[in-house]
């Protein structure tokens, strides 16, 4: 295995994060802090507890997920799209690195950035709301699996995209609405029965609820189902990436 190659890609991507600290970390932290102020403190004070959890604390897993999903996709898609856009991808493609090593470098860096971001958001939340984590190990498992899965998904988008518009399309037009409608700010049990059923087709519901279960021990769906859903999505992403590299789709064509 070309570990020096993996290291080179990983460090290069982490250096890009340092150069774009405002965009990578500060911006999502600020927007999340605003959500806590508006929904957690201002509106939350007039809301009752949900599943025995104060509203301010209830929205923490969903808000972390919102940033985690969008930033994982954004970081990974930019990471692979920019070399394609600038033409520097030639160097990676001509280097003695395997597909697995390329993915390890780019997706590993994007996952690391998301985990750092997730940790910062959790610390930021602490400034606004007092919360306990009932299952800390499971919380970390969900955090890592979600970051990894959506970084893989972002990597796919970065290869598929042939313009900046497409790069923004999925996070803005698909992920953000799914997260908002996936129970970030409410329990799906608060919805009418029809919309509860519709919500179950939203994969983000399972991510948020699994994460929420790790925090508070309560959720709308069983954590086992949440874990299974994320593993299915992870497997699907790995399968698509394998196909991309096997065929050279939009890379070596």
């Amino acid at each position: 295995m070309n570990l020096y190659g993996v290291r080179a890609i990983y460090l290069f991507e982490m250096a890009r994060m340092k150069r774009t600290l405002m965009q990578s970390v500060a911006s999502p932290v600020i927007s999340t802090a605003l959500y806590f102020i508006v929904f957690g403190s201002a509106i939350g004070n007039h809301m009752g507890d949900i599943h025995g959890v104060s509203y301010g604390a209830f929205i923490i897993p969903g808000l972390v997920m919102l940033s985690l999903l969008t930033q994982s996709i954004s970081n990974a898609s930019f990471g692979i799209y920019m070399p394609k856009f600038t033409g520097t991808i030639y160097e990676v493609l001509s280097a003695p690195v395997s597909y697995v090593e390329i993915v390890m470098g780019y997706v590993g860096a994007a996952t690391t950035k998301s985990l750092i971001l997730g940790a910062i958001i959790l610390l930021t939340a602490r400034l606004f709301v007092d919360y306990q984590i009932v299952h800390p190990i499971w919380m970390v498992v969900f955090l890592v699996l979600t970051s990894l899965t959506f970084s893989l998904f972002g990597f796919i988008i970065g290869i598929w995209a042939d313009g900046f518009e497409k790069l923004q399309l999925v996070p803005l037009m698909i992920i953000t609405p799914l997260v908002f409608l996936g129970g970030t700010f409410y329990s799906i049990q608060m919805l009418p029965p029809f919309w509860q059923t519709v919500s179950l087709f939203n994969p983000v519901v399972y991510l948020i609820n699994g994460f929420r279960w790790a925090f508070f021990g309560v959720s709308d769906v069983h954590m086992g189902v949440s874990l299974a859903m994320i593993l299915i999505f992870l497997t699907a992403c790995l399968g698509i990436i394998g196909w991309i590299f096997k065929t050279g789709y939009r890379l070596r064509s």
Partner: protein
């Protein structure tokens, strides 16, 4: 001796149906400078990209130092350094970091001394902490070379390396290329500056419409296909060539004031003595004469217009 690079029946058809390469076969030997010439769109960059592993071939095979570049891609690619035609760089990265990145990518452990030596050799040491976006075009071109050399390749591809580079820097680059050749590095270059190929290359390959139409030792090519031209400034202009001078090798120019005789450099005797004797017999005097040997550019233009396939 086993060729350093062996290309066999290589074809590339892009998804739109365009055939960029058609059954290309080519051997490149260790330690030689091989110049690949061809007009725009002939398939030079596609050929290089397939050898380097950047794009997939539709059919055919490539081996590098005996390693198949698909099945044994690690061994094959680790031999190669590529200086692409485009100045593709990460504008916000520093010179030092980008060269370090290239070395790591090719599986080499960090070697600051080695990178320092390359940057000094290419006059980039003073710029090591500068962002790439602050470099001039010539510096960026040198940086591309530094990146390609960072992992100490045994084969170096230079795709139009001196495009847009000033004369002094161009000479420096060719000096460096000669130095690499002396170290046993195989060099494959494409260039539009044919005089460079003429000056540098050991062998010349000409590609046209995705097919290799000629591969030849440069000196042999110049001898085989080179032509010489004798121009005589006549004392009195001629209205037409006298019957005794009517042949495909003679023509009039400048309203009959100049007689041009074209002959093969390989032909012996050249026919010049016979011509001068005939002119004397016909009483045609001349005040001056010049000879000119055809350049590689003339040969190249002739080949591309009227291809001659060789083995």
């Amino acid at each position: 001796m086993q060729p350093h690079i062996s290309v066999r029946n290589l074809s590339k058809v892009y998804s739109g149906g365009f055939t960029a390469l058609n059954q290309v076969s080519l051997d490149i030997h260790q330690g030689e400078i091989f110049a690949l010439l061809g007009p725009n769109g002939a398939g030079k960059t596609t050929l290089i990209s397939i050898i380097c592993g950047i794009i997939n071939a539709t059919s055919g095979s490539v081996s590098v130092a005996g390693f198949d570049n698909v099945n044994n891609y690690r061994q094959a690619r680790s031999q190669i350094g590529l200086v692409p035609q485009e100045l593709s760089t990460d504008a916000f990265e520093s010179v030092w970091n980008t060269v370090t990145f290239s070395r790591g990518l090719f599986g080499k452990p960090p070697a600051p001394d080695k990178i320092e030596s390359i940057l000094r050799q290419l006059s980039l040491w003073d710029k090591r902490n500068n962002r790439i976006m602050t470099l001039s075009g010539g510096m960026k071109r040198r940086l591309m070379i530094a990146k390609a050399l960072s992992h100490e390749p045994r084969i170096l591809f230079l795709d139009e390396p001196t495009a847009g580079v000033d004369v002094e820097l161009r000479k420096d680059m060719w000096e460096m290329v000669r130095g690499l050749r002396e170290q046993g590095v195989t060099i494959i270059l494409t260039t539009h500056y044919i005089e460079e190929a003429e000056e540098m290359a050991d062998r010349i390959g000409v590609i046209r419409k995705g097919e290799i139409i000629l591969v030849e030792d440069k000196a042999a090519l110049m001898t085989q296909l080179g032509r010489k031209e004798l121009r005589l400034q006549l004392l009195k202009p001629l209205d037409a060539l006298p019957d005794a001078l009517r042949s495909g090798s003679l023509s009039l120019a400048n309203n009959g004031a100049e007689l041009i005789y074209t002959f093969d450099t390989q032909k012996s005797p050249s026919g010049v003595a016979d011509l001068l004797r005939t002119l004397g017999e016909l009483g045609i005097g001349f005040g001056d004469l010049q000879t000119r040997e055809s350049s590689l550019e003339d040969i190249f233009v002739g080949l591309v217009k009227h291809p001659k396939t060789t083995d």
